[in-house]
Symmetry: C3
Subunit: 139 residues, 3 copies
């Protein structure tokens, strides 16, 4: 069976890294699916999802690594064409990626002990974001 | 139910970033599956898939970021062993990754408004590429 | 139908890149599922999965690229707070990502000819690791 759901949240933008593990666990539990897989997807071209230990130090460390990969203050062709100043956000999101596929067992996502699911909003302004969850499996 | 399909395309290589959104939408629609999930996979060790706003400026910006991560003109051990000069392509593909998991609702992939699916061919020559689509869900 | 399985392995840590393709193929074959999709997931916040040509030269090239993205010997806030010295490992794992979604056809994962599945253990010490496989599809 399939259960479709989504999480909507407000972000601050500017590589805002938000722990959504509790919401994901709640949605998986509410689906009634005991065993299967979760397709988790960040709808939007300046957001991404990944897993990390969602501890303030590591979150800042990840932000610095992303700044090394796609610095905010270099020239982006996108910004010349569109003038919205978020070229770096598009590049960052494409590198981290919009989707995760997470196994579900006994009604829970099979994350490691210190492994949290995070949405990253790379855009240069606060946004309302939608993370889509399609849960497939057996009751 | 499961529908297996694939997209075959010719690329120019050299970090050729190709928007395949229309083909993906056509395949999902043709599958007859209304609600489920799409497993999208780039078969090959020098190609990858991700999402981005497939606009010429951002595409060039992404190419430059990838060049910073794995520059073409540094030494690669792979090239010493194999002599095919595409060590950078293997490294780039492994970092971006070969797969996406995309939710499907009402017969369409749930992409954001400016979010397109792209195949990236990192190889150093034109290639014929196969992107595999396995669509699971309900009619 | 759904088959749940996992691969347990011992790693050396320190960006240990381990080819698990044969184990993955064996598990998929043993599942009895002919056609479907494999959700492959590295449980743990300092490990990741991707695909690459698992040849010694390219593996070393990938290690060097990862060292450029998140060098081991710079300051990490995580290490200040927790003192376990693996801040770089967390950042690296979040960038590469914990999951793959791989299509299965005729009882095999649809990998390219030179495309292998690898677990990467970024932690700064040997670990026992669990890679979870949830295989969905039809017999």
């Amino acid at each position: 069976m399939l259960v479709k759901d989504s999480i909507t949240l407000r972000t601050k933008g500017d590589t805002d890294i938000i722990d959504i593990t509790n919401q994901v666990k709640t949605k998986v539990s509410a689906s009634g699916i005991s065993d299967g897989a979760l397709c988790l997807f960040a709808a939007g071209s300046t957001a991404a999802v990944t897993t990390i230990e969602a501890e303030r130090g590591v979150i800042n460390d990840l932000k610095k690594a992303i700044e090394r990969i796609a610095p905010k203050d270099i020239h982006y062709e996108h910004d010349m064409a569109w003038g919205d100043g978020n070229g770096h956000a598009h590049v960052r999101a494409a590198i981290i990626g919009p989707s995760l596929s997470i196994p579900i067992s006994k009604g829970s996502p099979l994350l490691g002990t210190w492994q949290q699911v995070v949405l990253i909003d790379f855009d240069n302004r606060p946004r309302k974001r939608r993370v889509v969850l399609h849960i497939t499996g057996e009751k």
